[in-house]
Amino acid sequence: MTEAAAPDHGFRTAWAAMLRTGHGAAVRPGVLNPLIARTADLLHRAAEEHPFRPELAGQVGALLIDNHFTDPQLLSDAVQLIQTRPVPDGRGPALSGAFAAGWAAALRERTLREQEAIRLAADTARQEVERALRVSEARFRALFESSAIGIGIGDTDGNILAVNRALGEIFGGGPEDMQGVRVNDLMHPEDTPGVWEAYEELIGGTREYFQFDKPYYRRDGEVVWTHLTVSLIRDDDGSPLYQVAMLEDVTDRYRLQERLRHQATHDPLTGLPNRAAFFERLERLFESPEPDARFGLCYVDLDGFKVVNDSLGHDMGDQLLTVVARRLESALSPLGHMVARLGGDEFVVLLENCRGEQEAVAAAKTVLAALTRPVVIGDHRLAVGASVGVLERRISSTTPGAAVRAADLTLYRAKEAGRGRWTLFDPKENARAVSRYAVSVRMPAALDRGEFFIDYQPMIDLSSGAMTGVEALVRWRDPQLGVLSPEEFVGVAEETGLIMPLGRWVLEQACEQAADWVARFGDRAPKVSVNLAVRQARNAGLVGDIDRILRSTGLDPSMLQLEITESTVVGPEDEALKALHALVDMGVSLAVDDFGTGWSNLAYLRDLPVSNLKIAGSFVGDLHDPAKDTHLGWRIVSGLVSLAHTLGLSVTAEGVESRADAERLRLMGCDLAQGWHFGRPVRPAEIARRIAEGDPDRTAELPAETGPGGVERRHAPLDAAPAARQLPVPGPDFADEPEIAPSAGPESAPGIGPESAPGTDREA
């Protein structure tokens, strides 16, 4: 640089500018600047020094290549620039030539070097990949060969190409035994429907994989169950290439499942399908029925099975059931019907694809016929009959649950109608029974849940107008059915036996309440009157129960009256009579409720230790029936009053709705009265209020009547009281529940009793 800087200053500037553009822009200054200086110096020396050393220009070309100035455009630019530099003694062409040759030679070297480097890199990469592939393949091979899962590879034509050891073992041989086997050879009659369709789709390329539990025949002929997964492998273009099957031997699990399934779906005693299996089959029938498909149910219950069981023992009962099951099975299965045991002595016959009522009835007749012959067990010839409820419907018209319930209720009707017969489902009967059914299934839990409560209806001494007694009336507030009156559930309670705990509960509650009033109001406290169901009266524990209750509540026995019906005692030898005497001895008083509605045996009435007759509300109610003779009505009532007085009994008139009636009853000597006129059944707090305020003489004070049976009249007693106090009276909840309308209980067995006022249903 120091030598002759001035003469080639222009060249140096142009040289530097050339190297800074293009590729030079990407070269860092720390490299580029020394390069520019170095090459300019070398060119200067080549041009000026003696002797002439053209190889110095060659070095410049090589230096440029070394720094990646490989663009041929640069060579062209550089040669032209070198040509413009003044050079002594004609060195110019040689100088340019040497530079170009140095550049080209270095480029060739560099190119070859880089080619070699990239080849080496490519080889290295390929070797690396190959090594990795080998490792990977070794892994796969190990996976394939030592896998516990059977793996097989086949082509899309169904030829099995390779299988592993585990697969060979599943088939009871070695991998070599699968040579030449085709996938289609592996069909099994128990193959899940759809498995081969899925297979066709897979090898056809329209499905990527499928999974099934599939059975295969082993080489020894045994069946092996496998969990099979088949996947499709495609080539790079996406065409199906291979199928890979993975099989897991699940035979043990399958067998266990089968056994558990059989156990879960079959009755161990008879071997028939059980309740669960029946419902499963029934529900499957309902899953996607043809529009007009019909089905039939015969609900079968043996007549008198309980007697066999109780008198001859459970073993005998079980043997009987086994024989019955066998007979039903052999009579009905050939017809294509399913026979199941639902439990106890209940069986059911399911007719799928039923052609009509006739077929269902025919099945029922077949059931009865199969059981006509006596069953011989040991020394016993057991005449066993059955009742059958027959239901035949279009599937789309009902649900499995409703159908079974309806068939059960129809069976119940067959039993009621006198056993040994079949009864056909009747929608009207069914609707009635369904409500009873609803009540019966809900009631047991209701008692536990505290859904029952007691209202009290005043009983008035007609001569003084004082409230001397109250009748306890049980109510049930069911979360779904609303508030039910006794008519709606007492009958069912009697049938189911729930009347016993319920009756005891009512007695406890009423006595506790009465004792509370005595404690608070002394002499002004009313006597409490509680209805006693027939079954309660016949229960041996009744006297003990009442004694215990009186003791625990501290209620004076004279403050308790029990109301029984005429049918409670049916004869002088009746056990119930003893209990009633014991109660009266204890100090409890008895009343005959609903007198005059049953076939009263006046002779027994004389023997009954009762002190009060309650004339049924219908007698007073009839006085306002335009279709009935009012005069005669009054004479009957009057006669009943005289009769009672003749027998030395006091008389209570029920269903008194007007002041006029009350007055007339008082005049004819009737002792007590109850009914809407004197107050409807209310919560205990309302009774307490009336005691506290001093019960006014209703006969004198109440407003005049508006007419018979009118709403105003019905509300009259409460109109006199502040509105807020009406609240605890059971409200209209029940009216919101139209779907299940509880039917009235048996008319003759009011048990815990309807209130002595016209229809609770009116209130509802």
């Binding site: 590729h23 990407a26 860092r28 663009d71 080619q115 480097a117 080496l120 490519a122 990949v129 990977s136």
Partner: protein, 268 residues
């Protein structure tokens, strides 16, 4: 379906490869006929391509100098390709002789080549990983080691994000990288752009469609969005030659001809 980690990637030398094509544009010979054929085809359509690639390389050089001068001595060069000249460690070490660089590429040949030339450099590592599998990339021991001390790291995504086709995916990748970076780190990014030569964009993308790495050009707005979470260093996202030129006078009067756009962001 994604390739499981334990199944090796293939090397298909019958297909052009972005790293080797790039090398050819830059006047290198680390390429095969198949790469050159594609490059020549592209240059026929767009003769400026070598210049654009050189401009991109020059940007990387300037950006690296910028962050190195600012004290960053750790670099993660993702999509490093075949660094024939002006490799990041060479540029950075002019300012930070202790500069460490982890080069990342998914092309096995590029990786093998980088390993060959960097075999003797203890401060440089080469990792074969896929940017799109960001978690895997970040969990490589070499990368973890680079990030571990919590010192600022410059992540270089030089002409690589345009190989990530999906916008959502590219946003996720950048977010994941950003989360992993210590404060004070930098993002150096350049990207093929739709701006400047929209007439060329279509045919160029078509060419890359045949490679294992199809190319997606993006707008300035989309490229700027990639710096989300970073503070863009002046002059922001600009055409390659416009980013802090050595000498403002030497910038080509038509920087838009160098259609790539680039920028540098810092993480506060």
């Amino acid at each position: 379906m994604a390739r499981p980690n334990w199944v090796p990637a293939g090397t298909d030398l019958d297909k052009p490869n972005a790293a080797r094509v790039y090398d050819y544009y830059l006047g290198g010979s680390h390429n095969f006929e198949v790469d050159r054929r594609m490059a020549r085809q592209a240059m026929e359509l767009w003769p400026d391509l070598p210049k654009i690639m050189r401009a991109n390389r020059a940007f990387l050089r300037r950006a690296t100098q910028y962050v190195a001068a600012d004290g960053i001595s750790r670099y993660l060069d993702i999509g490093s390709g075949i660094p024939t000249f002006g490799a990041v460690h060479e540029v950075a070490r002019e300012y930070r002789p202790d500069a460490r660089v982890v080069y990342v590429d998914l092309d096995p040949v590029a990786v093998a080549h980088s390993r060959l030339i960097l075999a003797d450099d203890d401060l440089c590592q080469v990792v074969d990983a896929d940017l799109r599998n960001t978690d895997d990339l970040l969990s490589r021991p070499e990368v973890e080691e680079l990030l571990a001390p919590g010192e600022p790291v410059a992540v270089i995504l030089n002409a690589v994000m345009h190989f990530v086709t999906d916008d959502d995916e590219s946003a996720k990748i950048l977010a994941r990288l950003r989360e992993a970076l210590p404060s004070g780190s930098a993002l150096i990014l350049s990207h093929a752009s739709l701006e400047g030569r929209p007439d060329q964009a279509g045919s160029h993308q078509d060419l890359y469609r045949a490679t294992p790495t199809p190319l997606t050009m993006r707008s300035r707005e989309q490229i700027t969005a990639m710096f989300e979470g970073f503070d863009l260093v002046e002059p922001g996202v600009v055409y390659l030659p416009e980013w802090r030129p050595d000498d403002a006078d030497t910038v080509d009067p038509h920087p838009e001809r160098m259609t790539g756009m680039a920028g540098v962001g810092r993480l506060s």
